[in-house]
Amino acid sequence: MSRFVVIAEARDGDYRPSTYELLAQARRLAGSLGGEVAALTLGDDAGLRDRLSGLAHRVISIGGAGLAPYSADGWVAALGSALDALPARGAAPQVILFGESPRTREVLPRVAARLGAYAATNAVDLFEDGGRLLLRRPVYGGKAYAVHEIGAGRVLAAFRPHAFGADAPAGLPTAFEEVAAPATESRVTVLSSEAGAARTVDLTEANVVVAGGRGMKGPDNFHLLQELADALEGAVGYSRAVVDAGQAEHAQQVGKSGKTVSPTLYVAAGISGAIHHIMGMDTAKVVVAINTDPSAPIFGYADYGIVGDALQVLPALTEEIRRG
């Protein structure tokens, strides 16, 4: 009996898409390996728990004073104690699945340290092979993938958006439970926060990313990227050359020293395809490259290549998509 625990994280009035994806994969694995699927939801996020009905065997809401508004200290203490109350069953694997997010990045390692558990971030797959439970994650910027076997013990693992499809059979009988978190005071105080132009969440979780490079010839043409992105309900990203030129925010940069994206569709317009850029988008499912130079390296990482002027091809494509 394996146990899969999904940390259900909300944003903007619903759970993140990754929550549903992780729950779906947990149901598939529990189906083939045998086991239980639980969802843990904390603080304000727990208010949405009805949406998890049928998606897990157990939905455990954690409430308490230190959880809303969010603080890393509060969440670490709450998750630590809730997971401690879900002891491992003998030698069966116990995997706690998180979606990659800024919260996950500050909470997961600390909970793992607290519990003495294994930790893995940036994972792209959790799968069964001959009865073994395996986890895959890129290393060295995607130059290779490491595959780990999950045996006895607890593993806290964070998965990139779009790692799994969300369409697994549901309809599980769901038991709702509530637990109280230990009272915790945050040792970090938020002094101020300001909204920026770029919402990185749109970029990392978007199903479609339309990215522009130096070949877009400056901000005057960036509306062409936005228009295609809008037509495809996607987000816009940029290469570092564009960000370094001060034409876009660092939060919108795709690549090694920017954001890693794994959308279903990635359109690279006027991007040469330097390895540092590729590292940020290589796990996209389908890649379209538009470049005037037929020998541009980006074509080596694309599924569809168009040798042509992005400033002409983008609007034509937008028009065609709008037509449906």
Binding site: G141, R187, L191, A195, G308
Partner: protein
Amino acid sequence: MVVLAKEVPDLEAMVKVTADGGALEVEKRRGLNFFDEIAVEAALKLEQSAGASVLAVSAGAGTGIEALRRALAMGSDAALLVDDPALEHADSLTVARALAAAARREGFDLVLAGKQATDDEAGLVGPMVAELLGVPCVTNIIGLQVEGDIARVTRETEAGRETLSVALPAVLTVEKGLAEPRVPAVMGVMKAMKAQIPRVTLAELGAEAQPPLTLAGYATAPARPPAKMLEGEPATVAVELARLLKEEAKVL
């Protein structure tokens, strides 16, 4: 101040999966982790304003000296290497235990770490060290000021930017943009080359290793089939591409 300095293969180093998929062959060009260099720079800036000293600490099995020499060449006051065979392919928590024990033994007001290492890209060790030391942690900072025993930090969020205050001692992990690492002067490099860097073992620090997650093997990145190239007038290729995305790739 303690800076966690990891030695990693150069960003341009060749990485190959061995024929049996059991290991990685990584070209031996090593240096200080990209983000740790930023952390060293930030620590040196603080040293000037706050007058604290900077100790660089690295953990490895026969590695780490290169990283520490770079940190010294940049201007760090001292370096310490946790050198232990148990750190070969070690679990992140083991590394964090080693570094936390070293920081505790040496004393600290502030620990700076990189947001992640460019080899394992885990981003685990910094916050783990914070938890083991029982101090607060803020990740991915792009701004830092210290006034007395309070640090005021800035970071990018999903929606924009936030400023936080955190009581010291604390662990902070640094993001690109916090500081521009200096290029060490020749004098500094010479001094760093000659420096005697003390070493300690896990046992001497009272830190315990845990076996890492079982490695089943390595795989190369799945190669995409050669791109299908479309040619013609923009309007024509747009129609063809939209059709392929819909009917062949099934992503629309």
